[in-house]
Amino acid sequence: MTDFPLIFERSVPGRRGHGLPETDVPDRPLEELVPARALRTRPPSLPEVSELDVVRHYTGLSHRNFSIDEGFYPLGSCTMKYNPKLHEDAARLAGFARLHPYTPEEWAQGALRLLWELGEELRELAGMDGITFQPAAGAHGELVGLLMVRAYFASRGERRTRVIVPDSAHGTNPATAAMVGYEVVTVRSDARGNLDLAALEAVLDERTAALMLTNPNTLGLFEEQVDRIAERVHAAGAQMYLDGANFNAMVGITRPGDQGFDVMHMNLHKTFSTPHGGGGPGACAVAVKRHLEPFLPVPVVVREGDRYGLDFDRPQSVGRVRAFYGNFANLVRAYAYVRSLGADGLRAVAEHAVLHANYLRVRLAPHYEIPYDRVCKHEFVASGVRQKRRDGVTTKDIAKRLLDYGFHAPTVYFPLIVEEAIMIEPTETESLQTLDAFVEAMVAIDRECQEDPEKVRTAPHTTPVGRLDEVRAARQPNLRWRPEG
């Protein structure tokens, strides 16, 4: 079998794929308009292909991908739920997709109203007072959140230098803290998978700006002492930051604002079902308690009567983390989602996400190690240690073998505190039949680990390419195609 060609390998000099217009203004020598030395001398080596070539190329590439639309994607921490098709039509309405961000406010009332209403809904869900949609994704939201924490303390003349992060935290948490200039202090988890309260107390002091907590945490476990944690953190004068990546487990059941969080982000591409696009774009909301509102990025969407506007006049604002107002097209999708589900529907989301995860947990427990085997929330973490020790098969091998069974693999090797971690999040939109089929595949692989471990170690076998050499990719980076000669 030959390699699937690169688009550059389909190129033929002089071939064209566009139907662009010719000029319709009086011809003037180009040099009158642009000085010769500012001009490009060599054209870029872009492919020269027909529109049909392009259609076949990208249709072909799409057939070498895997998506929610094709099958089960139990990627823990990523909330790969169904992305309703209605949202696509909504986001592509010309009134949204073709709206320029600098359209005068009086001509953008529909868009601003949507932002306002989405803000109201999400503030209620979060139990928070203020909101911004500016960040483009979760990590970007963390940045906004910690910048606000920093600005808050600055406004009070306090200089706090440290952010506490549990050892189970997602990598973006410490990375964000570092980006905002904080020193990162890591706190361990306890035997039940909760943040170790004593360990926390040991490091909490007047240098602590914030605790960044994920709840349910990345083990899929609810922080059972979240109320006490908040109490301690606040007692130390610090702020509670919620990494809301796992909000899917608690919508309508418990609100972060009520748990004691001062600021949180919501990954709208997780709980609120905007599609992941093969790595993005996402969308994010950061919601805050009253005392942090002055620090929200500019602009903030405001309402006066039935007029909606953008408030730029916010002297204490942290400023901006991007141009314009956020990943609007995805906010349209998130709004459609919230309105389609309503209060009952959203609560049902959390209930079923948790139900499905626990079902899988219980079904897999006989076959795979489950280090923290208690009732989980929307996801749980299993481990491949048994297979590794018994059969010499790694979690990576198991993950690759799952691909042959027609499933995406769970998240593996995260959280870092679980050896050979296999983090499974089924979401509420998958059916019992799919969950059962997944269990069967996992059980079959466990059997293969014992009976034919080599088959698992050399997996995948049915994908467009076999196991790829990642070491070579990193050692001899080849990050772009180069034209010959």
Partner: protein, 457 residues
């Protein structure tokens, strides 16, 4: 429940399998004190046709670019997006996939990203580009942090002819790290290279090209000055299509380019999602933020693609990562790749040339219009600043009623520019559009007799 397949019978069966009596039992770990004890106060749920109808109503209240003819740019550009772009990029297999962690299953996304990285390098004349950032402004913020890390210096010099929102983001990204940002005042719409602006503590000089006023900067001049001082030159760019015609920043000496990829086949979307581009020299790749896709081989020797150099990234390096970025704008990058494939070298040149020619036509028409004056003398790409006889914000409001998005009033960002309007002309504007624009401007903003005395300049 909408989007939940589980039937009541199945729910019961699962509860039995788990060994609990009710779903409530699954939430026993949530402390009573933090539970929500009342129904959520949300707007009522709507059926599918109701949701769509309501959203269509909201959309209809907006003066989008199919309703108002768009002469507005300033960081978001109304280029023609060939219908094939989103019919392909929007395919479910791309749209509903996650980041390609399982490379063998995701060669489509990965190969497309590899091709995208190549195309960006070609267009910008750079050696490496990553798989995407959030947008141009945040890419600039990251570029500045990258320059700081690469040089070990803590000052950044930025032209005020860089997009004001990009500058704001630059500050947000750098100041918490102790970087000091100094701004350079433009002269006659340009940032003339000034050796005195740079010293041994300067990590980076940041200019935008074409700049926020549409003018072509002397990038080569700045490169020399920066490099002489051991600083890096960071070039920001709000519309990379300029480099279909203009010498690309890589050839002009840029060390890092931070660009906005929206113009490459992405919709205006009220400002997002857009597409952050970051490109640099090969030598700097290990300090780059974001995902990188590399070519490799599989166990049978076939070509394949993977996420690579991940030790730069947050999920491996945590607080020592080059950035915290995780989810990015992969689909927008894919759309850009489709767009650039359709256009090819001839197409990007054609678009750029049409932009230049059409903008020049409108500029010359406005130069002749009584009461109007082209603000700056420098050559421009597809944008230029014009001084208006009435406050630019009022002109824009009046023009909207005439069916035009007339441009961006600069008073919002620059003192003393209340009468300055930033006007953009892309390839989709026809000569008729422009002639009618001029007529409408004349109606809306022409100096009126009673006002002439006070306002003429």
């Amino acid at each position: 429940m909408r989007y939940i397949p589980t039937t009541p019978a199945e729910r019961e069966a699962m509860l039995r399998a788990i060994g609990v009596r009710s779903v409530d039992d699954l939430f026993a770990d949530v402390p009573a004190s933090v539970r929500l004890r009342r129904p959520l106060r949300l707007r009522p749920a709507l059926s599918d046709p109701e949701v769509l109808r309501y959203l269509a109503e909201l959309a209809d209240r907006n003066g989008h670019a199919d309703r108002l003819r768009c002469f507005l740019g300033a960081g978001a550009y109304d280029h023609f997006v060939p219908p094939a772009v989103w019919q392909l990029a929007g395919r479910g297999e791309f749209l509903t996939a996650y980041t390609p962690y399982q490379a063998e299953l995701m060669q489509g996304e990965l190969q497309a990203a590899y091709e995208y990285q190549t195309m960006v390098c070609e267009l910008l004349g750079m050696e490496v580009a990553n798989a995407s950032m959030y947008d141009g402004a945040s890419a600039l913020g990251e570029a500045a942090v990258m320059a700081r890390d690469l040089t070990g210096r803590d000052r950044v010099v930025v032209s005020q002819a860089v997009h004001p929102e990009y500058r704001q983001v630059l500050r947000t990204y750098t100041e918490p790290l102790g970087v000091r940002v100094a701004e350079l005042r433009p002269e006659d719409g340009l940032t003339p290279p000034a050796a005195g602006a740079v010293d041994g503590r300067t990590a980076a000089v940041v200019v935008q090209h074409p700049n926020f006023f549409g003018c072509l900067e002397d990038v080569r001049g700045w490169a020399e000055i920066a490099h002489r001082a051991g600083a890096l030159l960071v070039v920001a760019c709000a519309d990379p299509l300029a480099f279909g015609l203009l010498a690309p920043p890589g050839e002009l000496g840029a060390d890092i380019v931070a660009a906005e990829g929206q113009p490459l086949g992405n919709p205006l979307n009220f400002g997002g999602p857009f597409l952050g581009i970051i490109a640099t020299r090969e030598a700097f790749v290990r300090r780059m933020p974001g995902r990188l896709v590399g070519a490799t081989v599989d166990r049978h020797g076939r070509r394949g693609f993977v996420l690579t150099l991940q030790t730069r990234e947050q999920h491996i390096r945590r607080e020592r990562a080059t950035s915290n970025i995780c989810t990015n704008e992969a689909l927008n990058a894919l759309a850009a790749a489709v767009y650039l494939s359709l256009l090819g070298p001839e197409g990007v040149r054609r678009v750029a040339e049409l932009c230049v020619r059409k903008a020049a036509y409108l500029k010359s028409r406005l130069a002749e219009l009584p009461g109007f004056r082209v603000a700056f003398h420098a050559p421009t790409f597809h944008e230029f600043v014009v001084r208006t006889p009435r406050p630019a914000a009022a002109v824009v409001r009046g023009m909207a009623r005439e069916g035009f998005l007339a441009g961006l009033p600069l008073g919002r960002f620059y003192r003393g520019m209340g009468d300055a309007l930033l006007v953009c002309v892309t390839e989709v504007r026809t000569r008729d559009d422009m002639d009618e624009f001029v007529e409408a401007l004349n109606r809306v903003a022409a100096p009126r007799p009673r006002r002439v005395g006070g306002r003429r300049r």
